[in-house]
Amino acid sequence: MTTSVTSDAAGTTGELRERVREAIVQRRGLRITGSGSWLEANRPVAAATMLSIGGLTGLGDYVPGDLTLTARAGTTLDAIASVTAAEGQWLALDPLGDPAASTIGATIATASYGPLAHHFGTPRDATLGLELVTGKGEIIRGGGRVVKNVAGFDLTRLITGSWGSLGAITEVTVRLRALPAVQRTLAIDVGLDVPAIDALGATLRRLPFVPLAAQLLHPALASALQVGTTSHATLLVRIGGNAEAVKAQLGQLRAIGEARDAPERVWDLLRSREQGSVVAFRLSRLPSRFAESWRDAMQLLDGIPDAYCHGDPARGVVRCVIPPGARADMSTLRRCITSPFTGTRIVETLPAELWPLVAPSAASNRLSHGIKRAFDPDRVMNPGILGEAE
């Protein structure tokens, strides 16, 4: 996967800036890539040249006592995890995708998150500072290396989740957490009808603790992960804390149903089975309406072989996935992203020819236009990635 992105690989921020400056002069669009593992998103970028941050690897400051870590953008999540685990810490971000390939830069650029967002939030909440080469060929920094910071306008938040459309992230500082002393993963059968899922959401909200993660799995997914059967949905819960707290949490989970142990590696399996999805999109409403979104997702995916969904009731989000083997025809895929839906539908991955159907673009408002123009006036950084107009 990396062979196609080496032509413009940069080893330092300064080199990367030179690549951007050349592109500005030549009026040539750049497609920014990390390890390339999210390229399957097929987002409509009008750029022939790859700009890889894959060469920018390695850790900067890591003082475990500060619970902060600075890393070059091309550092993989696995590389970060192995260093922090040795200190009993972790970066509590688990975006869906292969952790051995996913880079921290891409995670933050796309604001990608996974099941741990249930407790720890998203990259918005974990990113303390970053360095960016803008579309003007300038090196800017937002935030810093401390956990609390209101100095100046918040460039860090603006850039987090901007999909490389304002510039290429070259370095980030993130907040770490202590690894829980004890962790358990449990699976609980849940009925597939709306009242059962409504009751699940209400019970989760009433728990006296917030699990580390809680994902409701489609029967096909639960079965594939070997944590449930095809006759039920399965709630996969991850809990943690000191031994006494975990013991109490196990008892409190009985309010949902009978819990059986599941292996902790199921979370990695859930993440790494994502590679190469044809279509992935998320449906969201208020958490209290999660059951409706789940029902809508089940209906949309009904009849598509191997398609599945999973969701976080506390966040009110259901994520639908159609894997490459699903043999869904174009009209079925089109229906998934265009059929009426009363909540918010966010598309992650689509075949390239369907992206034009995703409208209106999230960047089609006056402020977003202005921001793009201010940071990338020549439209060299991932042009068109947010579906923004010329």
């Binding site: 006592g65 810093g144 002393a181 603790f209 000191n242 707290a245 673009s361």
Partner: protein
Amino acid sequence: MTAAVTANERRPHAPMDAVLAARLKEIVGPRRVLFNPGELLAYGSDGLPGYFKQPSMAVFPGTRDEVAGVVRELARSGVPFVPRGAGTGLSGGALADGVVLLGLNRLSRIIAIDPENALAVVEPGVVNVALSRAVSPYGLHYAPDPSSQAACTIGGNVAENAGGPHCLKYGVTLNHVVALTVVLPDGDIVALGNAAGESEGYDLVGAFVGSEGCFGVALDVTVRLARNPEAVRTLLADFGSIDDAARAVSAIVASGILPAALEMMDQATIRAVEASIYAAGYPTDAAAVLLVELDGPAAGLDADVATVERLCRESAARTVRIARDEAERAKLWQGRKKAFGAMGRISPHLVVQDAVVPRTKLPEVLAGVHEIATRLRVKVCNVFHAGDGNLHPNIGYDANDPDESARVHQAMREIMQTCIAAGGTITGEHGIGLDKLPYMDAIFSAESLAAMCSLRDVFDPDRRANPGKVVPVHACREWHMAPRARRAAENP
């Protein structure tokens, strides 16, 4: 250097003010526009001592429609303005120097509470603690709790991205705002974020929160509420040296236990509190005390309390006391929350400083602050969010004594330089405002500051909203004449 006149320096002429005042009175009613210098005196300062800036007039709309109407009228007239909530800000962000002050404290309605989804929609003038009170029947509270929470408003909290003791565990204002309706300085009304689902595209909520009134005026704010914890434990540990207390902070942070709050007060602060009506029973012979709060599910909490107690004792704590009941807990907290007020009794003037350092650097930075205070003969009281590394070295002094004032300002500069040298930043929760402008060049490159200017220009191309704040004017030089020229080019 050219002497370009910017919007920041523009003053409206008095006759124009009279016309504008008449128009604004039509929108908000005659009693809600203050125009006479005597009436405006009260609005000449905010929570930052030592500054007085007279607004040209002050206007107090009572509804969201009136706010939008006022902002549109100001846009039509090309007049700069400064939004203001309760005026408790500590960086001079609400000072209006010869421009219009837009008071939002009358917009104090809680528009909706959604207990099931733990959300509330409020107007910007809602007082922070009033929101927590209103949602307490549902077992909820609003987590960010600045010490001024009895007076400060949610709108002001949003502008400053306010923090507070409990932000260590629960996050700052930004982590609790999910959506906003904003009137931009040109009068356009925009919805930012999505309260009822996910958002995509640029994080405009993230950009707006903490923009110190430079990006527009929030008409309503949708905030996430926190569920009240099942159990709370509050500990007071006292130490024979500041260094021991700082080492205890590092040990607690490194242990992985995440306290709801982890606060430090030094001896000068303790004595000021104990001499006031807010006396909390802190030991006055201690060099420093730590106030540690742990909360969450009851099960397992006492194990964490025991760990924190052990870590304090291993760092040479003399005593560790655990509040037995809610009354004792409230008393311990009152001393902390009212510490600034207690210090105010001791000296005629008080500078409240705000900086953040990496938490492992606390011992050396506090030693540095002590050395600076001793050398320059100033009285520093440290009371701060130790768990975040968020320092508040406060200096009481007499502003009428020029020699003492000069030493205080020198001490402040040296303290900020010490924090920056330790890898820290110049403000953790008070904002840049006017006060911290001189330090922006020390932590951001010219290119980063220019990027901030260009971001402001997206929201406010005329630079009329809170002019002259946050980013030093010289950093925006490249852009001085750009906005109008650019628009002229785009709309010939």
